[in-house]
Amino acid sequence: MTNPHAALPADVTIAPDEIERESRALSTVWSDGSGLWAWLTTVDHKTVSKRLIVTAFLMFIAGGIEAALMRAQLSRPENTLIGPDRYSQLFTTHGTTMMFLFAVPIMTAMGLYFVPLMVGARSLAFPRLNAFGFWNYVVAVVFLYVSLFVNTAPDTGWFAYVPLSGPQYSPGHRVDVWAQVVTFTEISALTAAVNIIVTTFKMRAPGMSLNRIPIFVWAQLVVAFMIVFAMPAVATASTLMLATDRAVSMHWFNPAEGGDALLWQHVFWFFGHPEVYIIFLPALGMITPIIETFCRRKVFGYTPIVMANITTAFFAFGLWVHHMFATPIPELGQSLFTAASILIAIPTGVQIFCWLATMWASRPKLTVPMLFVLGFIFTFVNGGITGVMLASVAFDKQAHDTFFVVAHLHYVLLGGGVMPLLGAFYFWFPKFTGRVLSERLGKWHFWLFVIGVNVTFFPMHILGLQGMPRRVYTYLAPTGWGPLNLVATIGAVTIATSVLLFLVNAVMAMRRAPDAGPNPWGASGLEWAVASPPPNYNFLHAPVVESRHPLWDTTVDLPVLTGFRSDRREVLVTTTFDARPDSRHEAPKGSIWPLYLALCMGVLFIGSIFSPWFVPGGIALSLLGLAGWGWTGSKPTSHERVATPAAVPEHA
């Protein structure tokens, strides 16, 4: 390996007391302060993302409790534990919580925490926008769960098909709650997407050209683009069309006045199908670093994996009609979607083959994160295969809207989304908190979770094909569906136990003092170059990157770029393709405007359910917030172009 700093004397290092002084200055400048005001106004991406992750995990538990109640009701035929009204609120809230309040937010939150660290940046591109997205998410959580307790939880499914969710057949405001929860979560997702795209393109460490970005970051980038194209569709459907239909008598979906009930399904599923890939692709991005670390091997096929992610994202937008195969859409049109739905298995297959090849030429160490990767392969491949089966129009006409689909979707979401996520939690827990989770408890968690998922959901394939439709609060004894339902309920108890073990593990770990070093696993990403947990300024100096695995490819300390100011929050902006230093910007300090604006959004959208006057009122309040936000933004004198030092190595 050649010495990349041939232009510099080889023994140039920075004196320790210089480091000490600089880190103290930086931590002061990047600090939030203390007290309630600091808590409300922080724009530190790590703080905000950690809050998002914890809240999303609480939503996972809430959704799990709803699922447990449903499974308790379905464990016996004609059970009287929960009546039809409560049950429909439960399955709707379960789906809405898991899809909108847990899955997407936690995946984007992992990105919002790690993307700056992995690309060597001090902060996200738009820290206040990030905080704004977080507070919108909080409004959504509070709104949905308060409504659950006042009997106003939505009750027409997480997909809210009209005309059932329309004004005539869903009286009251339950469905309006759903429509606005979707609005807030979609604002939140869009802000996260914008941040990830701009941070990834413009704030990478010098030398980290696009083909050196970690695969985790690639996955987040691809998903961010998907969010930008998919979320507006659900905003159109729920906020624009359904909410106005219900509030001010629009006729979007009223066939008697020229509307169309199928229009809802098209617009919703145009979002709904990419939505599941928005959940799935970040999880795939988490697998590569885990495999690399515990097989101690650079991943086989970096470029094919990146291309597979991009291809999956494109294909994902061409599949939505496979949710509508039972509707009277012409069969030729449906067949196009069959083809796309089958072919999307190919890029995912490419990724799995590359991972198996990585594992093959190495000696995998079976730590808990690695175990979850194995659990992913075991579980997700099953779900992927049933997905390809459902692509067949003929077969889907039997399986659509039955427990077969419930089985498929949970296999892919739990196996393909949650298992990698749990592995990622165990892997990155030291980086978040400075403590390592217990391996023993982790293994118990893993085995109970994998066994629980398979025991709960495998019988549902059979139940579905035996005639059991979805979204039923009970079933008759002569159908013979009782025994398998009981098995599924027992599996659900197992899953619940495993999640409890994880909570115990986390709580016990947090009781210890932080004792993990910067890189307890010996991994290769830039995030492992800083302390655990990272200081509030992330990196003392901007790292200079010469390969895809910075910590594995340098025999000496990481090369860095110095000369940044430590009396203000300074971030480095680099060029898009080659990451050559371009300019320096001042990052914003803590601000109350994100919270204020999110509350304005709350007033605007929640108020619009009760009276249209809240819309102009909310807009007026928001304009005030936007003025405040813009007023306290960065000043013109805070951007400076940077001349590329001769010592920074060009892209090799």
């Binding site: 009997n151 005309p163 005539q168 009286p171 009251g172 405001h173 339950r174 008598s249 009223n254």
Partner: protein
């Protein structure tokens, strides 16, 4: 600590006011009919006004009002009353009430029937169904709480939805306003 207490209190308050509007009263005993005597007009001898002030049990309940809307269409009330505009029968969405606009008076009109063609539904519909119709009829002219009124129906809409009708105060019936 005080902040926590305040939050718990606020939460309890919200839960306690848990929406009457959203209740779905399934498999509940039917609300009783009003007492025997329901004055149809406010003209009475003497100062004592005998009226039934029974509240409409479904007036603030969105589900019950929607059921009333469904019954209105199923029992072909529109055949005489159109969708509130009247035809052979009087209009129901204006503020002229021949026999009174209180819930008990409308209940009596539906249950007993009225002269000049209003059939008697007492033995045809249950009390609960008649109360649901009462709630719907009152919503047509804006007499019930706005949040519980139905919005547009999935049919050709010949009039604005009741939820977009302005709120109305109950007006007395008859040509000579008295001390009601």
């Amino acid at each position: 600590m005080r902040l926590r207490l305040a939050m718990i209190f606020a939460f309890a308050l919200v839960v306690a006011s848990a929406c009457e509007r959203e209740e779905r009263r399934l498999n509940q005993p039917s609300p009783p009919a009003p007492v025997q005597f329901v004055a149809q007009v406010p003209l009475q001898p003497g100062p004592n006004v005998i009226t039934d002030s029974t509240e409409g049990p479904f007036d603030d309940n969105a589900f019950g009002t929607a059921q009333g809307q469904q019954l209105f269409s199923q029992m072909n009330c529109a055949g005489c009353h159109s969708h509130g505009g009247g035809g052979m029968g009087p209009a129901l969405m204006d503020d002229q009430w021949i026999y009174g606009s209180t819930p008990a008076q409308i209940f009596a009109s539906i249950a007993e029937g009225r002269a000049n063609g209003m059939p008697s539904w007492k033995y045809r519909l249950t009390n609960e169904q008649i109360w649901q119709l009462v709630a719907y009829v009152r919503s047509l002219s804006g007499l019930t709480p706005k949040g519980a009124r139905p919005t547009r129906s999935d049919e050709m809409n010949v009039k604005p939805a009741p939820s977009q009708t302005p709120n109305a105060k109950p007006k007395r019936s008859g040509p000579n306003p008295g001390n009601d």
